[in-house]
């Protein structure tokens, strides 16, 4: 949405824009029914969450979800970067594997879950595997594309300076693919959150996803809305942290047009 460097405070939209959301919540709070199965008032959300926390449901679920998400994303980053680099430097392999990789990337994530369940059964490892699978493709494909497109002149410079393979990789290839890697992570991040929740919802393995489904099945509607808000907050925080990190890393790179969405 903003062009230039990502992650600057000046890019934040004006705070007045929060008005519609606040007005909506405020109206709901004032005019909403005291008890409702469908539209519980916002203040009930908070108390429902507190109750869930006291009952010992919320904490472990939150940890399970965040841990799955965090570990899976890290694994996806490492695997995607390593495989992407390997693939990018061998153009013949990339061409041969490209249709297969594009198919894997294009396979809708929800469909992976039943396949994994069938093959592996309901185990904690299932969660990690599925989220890693979904997150690795955007990173791998982005890194591979960038690794194959490293500026040839820079490779000539490396040869002129008698760099070995390791030095060329570390000083030239890795920094050159860094922006593409971050773009892949930017895509993989929300995807990983969604798929973590999805797996939990489908398999009812412990996590926020299964928590919200069981709340819905037992008509604890305030808790459902509360968890929805919680997920929103988590998503927002993770996104902001990523944007900050990305901005810091990319500060030394020439300003690129900042693509969003």
């Amino acid at each position: 949405m903003s062009s230039g460097r990502p992650g600057r405070l000046s890019d934040l939209p004006p705070l007045r824009g929060m008005l519609p959301l606040l007005v909506l919540l405020g109206t709901w709070q004032i005019f909403g029914p005291e008890r409702s199965a469908y539209f519980p008032r916002p203040d009930t959300w908070w108390s429902a969450l507190a109750a869930a926390s006291h009952a010992g449901r919320l904490g472990p679920a939150l940890i399970a979800t965040l841990a799955t998400f965090g570990i899976s994303l890290c694994v996806a980053c490492m695997a995607g970067a390593a495989l992407g680099l390997l693939l990018g430097r061998v153009p013949a392999a990339r061409r041969a594997l490209d249709p297969l990789l594009e198919f894997c990337r294009g396979l809708p994530p929800p469909v992976i879950v039943p396949v994994a369940v069938l093959l592996l059964g309901y185990a904690q490892g299932l969660k990690l595997l599925v989220v890693v699978w979904v997150g690795v493709w955007p990173i791998l494909l982005n890194v591979a594309a960038a690794a194959g497109a490293v500026e040839p002149l820079l490779l000539d410079v490396a040869r002129t300076f008698h760099f070995g393979r390791g030095a060329t990789l570390a000083k030239i290839v890795l920094p050159a693919v860094l922006p593409a890697f971050l773009l892949g992570v930017r895509i993989a991040l929300p995807l990983s959150i969604i798929v973590t929740l999805l797996v939990e919802m489908v398999t009812m393995l412990p996590g926020i996803g299964s928590l919200i489904v069981s709340a819905q099945r037992e008509y604890r509607s305030a808790e459902v809305y509360g968890l929805l808000g919680l997920i929103g907050v988590i998503g927002f925080c993770l996104n902001s942290v990523f944007v900050l990190i990305e901005g810091t890393i990319l500060r030394r790179f020439p300003p690129l047009a900042h693509k969003s969405g």
Partner: protein, 257 residues
Amino acid sequence: MRARRVNVPGLVVIAGLAAVWEMAVRSGAIEFDYLPAPSAIVGGGWALIASGDLFVEAAHTLYAVWLGWMLAVAIGSGLGLLLGLSSAARTYLQASLELLRPLPAIAFLPVALLIFNFSLTTELVVIVYAATWPVFMNTMGGVMAVASRLHDVARTLRLTRAQAVANIVLPAALPAIVVGCRLSLGLSLVMAIIAEMLGNPHGLGHAIMSELQAMQPERMFAYVIIVGILAIVLNAGLRRVGAYLLRGHPPEVAEHV
């Protein structure tokens, strides 16, 4: 259109993989109880077609996708146009939208289930919420990128606001809008499947889950592959449509759509 060279090594890899898979299952080398051989999957797929199940389920999913996508495109482009053209609208709406954007649409599914129960409406709510974002973001971005550049042109030619929007802004923003619609379509399919797996007991998503519970791996895998093919076909189809719509634009633009 560029001439398409057939990616022979690519095809070889896929065919080779299928062959290895077939042999591994037949010889019992792989220890997965429920991994069917490719030949069994084809058989399962054929059974689905013969019994008509495939068409029934696919029709439901496609109907939901179509409806949801149309709604998403309408809402998204309308909102995008509004915020793209009016800085006042941006000032008073953007922050709220930025807060909502990271909210995963899947989290709305339980809420929709609470209110609408197991129904098509639940499915549509989830699809529309998720699929609106790409269209909205891309439309707004496209319109804003154009408006600044060609604003002076419109003033020089003394066009009215409506004329400027219709004749300059929309055509110039069209590539971005088309990309947004294409992303939105893929997302609609994904959300439809999710909703059907958890919320609305019809369609391909639901079929996959029931085959899973019925322990019918061949049929389940057949459905999975069909969903994958559907995703590719929808994407490629919309690419073609996009290329046609953008046939007046320079080639670099049309190709990236």
